[in-house]
Symmetry: C2
Subunit: 526 residues, 2 copies
Amino acid sequence: MTKPDDPHRVLIFDTTLRDGEQSPGISLNMTEKLEIAQQLARLGVDVIEAGFPISSPGDFEAVEAIARQVQGPIIAGLARTHTQDIDAAWNAVRDAERPRIHTFISTSDIHIQHQLQTTREDVKGQARAAVAHARAYVEDVEFSPMDATRADVDFTAEVVQIALDEGATTINIPDTVGYAMPQEYGAFLTRLYELVPGLRDVVVSVHCHDDLGLAVANSFAGVQAGARQVECAINGIGERAGNASLEELVMLLHTRHADLGLTTVVNTRELARTSRLVSRLTGYVVQPNKAVVGRNAFAHESGIHQDGVLKERTTYEIMDATTVGLAANSIVLGKHSGRHALQQALEDLGFRVSGQALNTAFKRFKEIADKKKQVTAMDLEALVTDELRDDLGAYTLEWFDVEASSRRPPHATVGVRTPEGTIVEGSFTGDGPVDAIFHAINAATGKDAKLREFHVDAVTSGQDALGEVSVVLELGGVPAAGQGVSTDIIEAGARAYVRALSNGVRRAALQTPDAPPAGVELTPTP
Amino acid sequence: MTKPDDPHRVLIFDTTLRDGEQSPGISLNMTEKLEIAQQLARLGVDVIEAGFPISSPGDFEAVEAIARQVQGPIIAGLARTHTQDIDAAWNAVRDAERPRIHTFISTSDIHIQHQLQTTREDVKGQARAAVAHARAYVEDVEFSPMDATRADVDFTAEVVQIALDEGATTINIPDTVGYAMPQEYGAFLTRLYELVPGLRDVVVSVHCHDDLGLAVANSFAGVQAGARQVECAINGIGERAGNASLEELVMLLHTRHADLGLTTVVNTRELARTSRLVSRLTGYVVQPNKAVVGRNAFAHESGIHQDGVLKERTTYEIMDATTVGLAANSIVLGKHSGRHALQQALEDLGFRVSGQALNTAFKRFKEIADKKKQVTAMDLEALVTDELRDDLGAYTLEWFDVEASSRRPPHATVGVRTPEGTIVEGSFTGDGPVDAIFHAINAATGKDAKLREFHVDAVTSGQDALGEVSVVLELGGVPAAGQGVSTDIIEAGARAYVRALSNGVRRAALQTPDAPPAGVELTPTP
């Protein structure tokens, strides 16, 4: 049912919220996941893999919310072959316009032996039952033979044939451990097409990991061998070295369209913004030299107007920065801009904000505009994203005082509003001002959180830039992340820490009685 | 002369200090370049392209110093086809054990027309003269037809034949704009071998850019077509989206050795450290999901002990973290460790430190050990690297006081020692504590520097982690970078800013009377 009529159409399956969100240290709350999903819809991806519903109640709720609220793309939920997984996936995605269940089981002997501790016969039986069970719920079912590239191709073909017999409409071939080389991966797909002629009637998909730096090249080799769905993630995030970068894959097909003839329906002008949003909310930086979305990916963005570029753009640029949405960084508001101008600017950026949310945004905007001469589109994005992070039932930073000096130890005092509405205070003398304020927050809230990661980036360049701080802390053995934005790095850090603490407390609450059996969350995935 | 007898041997040509150093915002001083070159020698690369000597006096001096002091690898200097370029390159590398001149000229019509504004005939003449002139100096001469992948293959073959006729010993085929696809690039090389049979007697080299995310895959396709030298850079830095990542390329050949049979002499255990050193000194972050050297590239490094990994490592890992040197991050020293223990630990890390340098290192070590319970190998690396940044004739931070609060604007006062040895003071009330201290430094030194980029990372995890701040500022239109390390983020930021200011002042001094004619530094390169 999902196979497009146009043989040149490549479907983009985004797994930022599933494989990407499984990366260590990433811990998105439901509002953040929804915001990313909305942006993915705006970007025009064909499928959003929204999560792995059985893995945790939080994941289930997020997939359900995305299925109910995000229009356009197919919404997929991941499931092992277990009945309870498929039931959970279906219950999470059932309200989507176009729901999909994606089920998987390993076909490599190394996984069957060591991970599943079972037999090839059992794997076939599980695959058959799972696809049949999923098809009883929904027409759109995807099946993945995990670790296929290290599996016996004949056995993998048998399992794929079973999935097809039971009605799977998409067959995905994962290079789970990022081991394949392009020619090898293409040859594996070609051989599967020979062994399973029925593959020509469904969508064949590729899912490649970047452990050897070949995820995009392998995905591309798969497409050249006939695959028409690519599983990828924004900024290439995902397990270990991550998945194929969506933006690289899309721009490869776009830039070389004249030679390849392949198309996607991605709106490339949304790529830069999507990249920034995902980087900001996950706390995963994009290196300056990252293809397509890195700060220096375009010569003229990096401030170097090379001789050649000045004479003729195409001498040194094969893509135009405006194509990926990098030129739109120009909406400028100042301190005299009013509420309506802000609302209009936010709407241009795709954020529909009104009522109390507009009031809050306007208040923050005015604070920033007092400090900065010009507020750019990127500043606004950061502010709106920042506001998304505050929600009910969380701790919030009320006030702080910090003294830092080379001549005495730094000291911090803070006031934090608790979820119950009271203001608690704490103070601490630490190794540095950030260390002091984080410990002061611990003292105020009575929590014993430990800092694991701390990261700062400037949103825009210049002396009065907004600083964006990402924090990962550990609370009772569970990691939790938070971000904060301000022109003041200490304030941004404290906001980030308080939010991470709120996330940690919320996470701990979710891990109680009706959480899934231990180990489910750690289940390896394609 | 440089062609190895073993047909399976792939030479690693590192261009971190040339193409990498041309990235915007990177501005390494000579000490830093030397330290990177020493580490590249320890890593075991075959060739270090140390710089582009004609481009600036600073570049010339750095290449000369590396040629004189770094043992092991061939030291190459880049040169356009102009006589003065080749003379400069030779004068810079002549003292190396094994010097190389690398000269280039574009063969694509788009470059010949718009960039060079000349004719194909002239390009042939320039290539002939340049290689001949370089060969008069040295036996080891590399020639690159720039933008070859967008050039007419027959014309490129003609120019390559001329270079061979004049005695070039390495022919490099650059994908200058990162436009090629793997099969296409491999086919281009195969066609060149057909047109120029003499290529079989020299080393053929690949130089690929990552604009479409294919630099490693294209380089690999080139190797499969017969190339035996790969030009790459640590962390994949370089113009725009950068070059092929050295670490990915090396680990691809290493991990798939059983299938490919290709070898390098790189000591893979030095990869992680080299990556950290380059990231630290350039201020270019490595994203967590970067293959091989990213923080999460290995499952067990990222803190996720997946079910499968516990049962059998190879179920989810194709490489072992110890192979790339990631396991060495063990605790080495505590606050009671003495001078000898520090010296020994530094020696284990490859830093030979004695006399005054050891005293300084020990003093910094004690300061840190007072604040941190355990000082790890990575902390020591950061400290030593930090010390490298201080040199004579620079500004240094003497003391500072900062107050930050949510209830009044942040205020900073600083004392800075000038190159002349006097201490100047300044104060400022700014938008944030970092903003305030940076402006206070401007006020103290009387400089009008403008902040362009500000970046913070934790060296190790934990509440008492060392913070590492990178700053890029602009002084009189020229960008300059600086880094600082401390457990106190404000102090690290102020150190970084003062160093960037020193670099900026030094740069400005170098840009005076006997600087090369305007435009030389902006010359596009392969």
